[in-house]
Symmetry: C2
Subunit: 127 residues, 2 copies
Amino acid sequence: MTTALIVLAHGSTDSRWQAPFETLEQRLKERMSSPVRLAYMELCDPLLETVVEELHAEGFNSIDILPLFFAAGRHLREDVPAQLEALRHASPELSLTLLDPVGQHPSFADVVVSIVAENQRDSSCTE
Amino acid sequence: MTTALIVLAHGSTDSRWQAPFETLEQRLKERMSSPVRLAYMELCDPLLETVVEELHAEGFNSIDILPLFFAAGRHLREDVPAQLEALRHASPELSLTLLDPVGQHPSFADVVVSIVAENQRDSSCTE
């Protein structure tokens, strides 16, 4: 069976903060051939633990976790690895791989450049 | 004079958390023709207010602020606009534009898809 992907956001009690992550999950589902799910580290549903257990119940034993974080602070160095370790302890057959956060990927600079370029074009059209 | 760009990160007291933002700033400087600077909203230097004042002193009266945030939570709806309003009050000739956060841009989904695709290629090479 293919590896499933979880895109992991921090989480917030602010529902307006969650909406863009749900939009991103929808865009990813439309574009990816392998299963993709959104999960939150804390503060709102669905939590990482819940989504891992659901994917496991669906038959996935290999899950990659891509953090929607700009940088690896304490959450990604300590808290999330501890969450994953607890999940592995509960289900030793699970292979859980924590990827580098998206903000550390070289192509992330490309998208920022393209957003800036697009904004400059829009500004010159309206001036 | 052209418009300057500030890429705005949240800020942290964790120096390891800051490093990827500095790398991103360097990549942007190499790729953009207009001036670009990194600033933090709070917790570490250089702060937004400092960078705006420095760019203003260099002669820029028009500055776009691109938030390196995934979503517009309370910080981008309330705190940053209040910081910008105080800066405008101090220097009425300043034109400060707060752009949508990068995570809400449609092309952000593209970069996540490309990161996932690259990871899958890497995995299949090592299996």
